[in-house]
Amino acid sequence: MKQNVSISAGLPGTKAPRGKADTLLRDIIRDKWLYLMLLPGIIYFIIFKYVPMYGVSMAFMDYKPYTGFLGSPWVGFKHFERFFSEPQFGMLFRNTVILAVYNLVFFFPMPIILSLMLNEVRRAKFKNFVQTLIYIPHFVSWVVVVGIFYILLTTENGILNELLYQITGRKIAFLLEAEWFRTMIITQSIWKEIGWGTVIFLAALAGVDLQQYEAARIDGASRWRQLWHITLPAIRSTIIILFILRLGNFLDSGFEHIFLMITPTNREVGEVFDTYVYTKGMTQGQYSYSSAVGLFKSAVGLVLVLGSNWLAKKFGEEGVY
């Protein structure tokens, strides 16, 4: 990384560099205001994020609240070994990864498509109105969303199931059948978060130069072509950044949501790391064990973020850092 920095050091407009140290000093002096602006943020991250980082050590101890970090015994990789050798590990890993992939494939593009659709709307009032409607579900908690799905889909007088019965003559236990579990989770996620997800893309789209569209129209470009050549490139770097950052939380499944949807009959596909950790950590007080699982998830996230960022840069994108 050091090398990267020094490569970008030779700037146009500055005099030819004499020595490395010399340039460094000159650059720092030139950017003194920028560094001063960085200061509060750096202090913030050190105090509130890096100082507590010693808590990671919990994963390598048998932590108890009353003995604390100093008094709890070190146990090395005991918790990791236990985690990887659990009979459920394979199932948890598979369920979590499948759900994560579904999320990236089906959920992630949805807000982008919707913002592109909204972007094509020329009537500002209509656009604002639709925007306001679609972002509401974000504020409805999972408990309520799952409750509404129950009312719609239960086999005991659920509205949609009754309708299905009228049409096809049979009911489907959407909420119980294992094969429907992932579809339900993704559908609910899309329903709740699609509108909220558009906010950031609409902000990115607000920066597009309108003259580009006019020029394209004069050249006779169709709506699809304009979308492809002007609109999408304008939000491309935002999409890439969000995608990379999402990979960092790849193994996070949204505990509350999943927890509310799991039933004895769909647990074999529904149980994920997050719900497993809840049972372990919350109901049984195994902090160190939960913390070890958390660390594993983070490590996977780190590899994915670094990998995807490297790839993005390879393709000439800015990436995250």
Binding site: A9, D31, G41, I42, M53, G55, T132, I134, A206, L260
Partner: protein, 290 residues
């Protein structure tokens, strides 16, 4: 804005509008349900089913809510931490994001990587509590604003937005004698209103939804924001999350729970329409030309 009215365009527009209306309706459904139940009489609700319009109107739930001062007090707390907290967030985040958007800044990559790292690894609840306590923030509302002054996610995305502002504009300001700080506040921020509105919204919603830090850092229940009460009333009623050994919590009727949801959600819902004008297309260009 002249639009060539080809048939293709027409079909495109009609499909697009229809789809959007449909999505809008589906999305608003849960809230309509919540709203309708909150205005329905408990007896009607007991019959079950999906209620989208109250058959028997009742204001009993709201009467109950307004009969207690707790909800109003926590509402004020929520508004306070949301307004002040978001201001702190935007100030700190943009101050940090701007320098990081400068490709020539030495050490930039290292700092960005360090920030990214905090998104993936955290020390956890107890060490963070110790820090907040050591800073003397516990039991004050600052504990809900300072420890989350900058979100790494927002910082990184905002940095990305800043990068897309053409350098030319900033250079001209610098020639006029502004320092980098001046450029940020006089040129960059006004040009980034959509971004500011977006991240302001993200932060505001984040503050509004805080409940766990409040329980953790604050002992005086008079300082609890509205979400703590909402969780207390709504989530526990479902009996699925939380301490199952506590089964004698009083469960409020569904109508009251829904009324509390409405009461606690409407203020933050109102924020977005006010921000919308900043999302209008071409804001950036307009402000520069004008």
């Amino acid at each position: 804005m002249l639009q060539d009215k080809t048939i293709g365009n027409r079909i495109f527009d009609i499909t697009n509008y229809t789809l959007l209306i449909l999505i809008g309706l589906i999305c608003v459904l849960p809230f309509v349900y919540v709203l309708a139940v909150s205005f329905t009489s408990p007896a009607e609700v007991a019959k079950g089913g999906l209620i989208l319009w109250p058959k028997e109107w009742s204001l009993a739930s709201y009467r109950y809510i307004f009969s207690t001062d707790t909800l109003f007090r926590s509402m004020l707390v929520s508004i306070y931490i949301t307004v002040v907290g978001t201001f702190i967030n935007l100030l700190f985040t943009s101050l940090m994001a701007y320098p990081l958007a400068k490709a020539t800044l030495r050490g930039r990559q290292f700092i960005l990587l360090a920030v990214l790292f905090t998104m993936l690894f955290g020390g956890g609840m107890i060490p963070t509590y110790f820090v907040v306590k050591a800073m003397g923030l516990t039991n004050s509302l600052w504990s809900l604003m300072i420890p989350n002054a900058i979100s790494a996610f927002n910082l990184i995305v905002l940095k990305n937005f800043f990068q897309q502002i053409p350098d030319g504009l900033e250079d001209s300001a610098r020639i006029d004698g502004c320092t980098d700080v001046g450029v940020l506040f006089r040129i960059v921020l006004p040009l980034s209103m959509p971004a500011m509105a977006t991240f302001g919204l993200f932060y505001a919603v984040g503050h509004w939804n805080q409940f766990f830090s409040a329980i953790l850092y604050i002992n005086d229940s008079r300082l609890y924001p509205i979400q703590v009460l909402l969780r207390q009333i709504v989530i526990l009623a479902q009996g699925s999350i939380g301490d199952t050994s506590i089964d004698n919590v009083e469960i409020q009727p569904l109508t009251i729970r829904m009324a509390v949801i409405v009461f606690a959600t409407v203020p933050i819902l109102l924020v977005y329409p006010f921000l919308q004008k900043h999302f209008a297309k071409g804001v950036m260009l307009g402000s520069v030309k004008g």
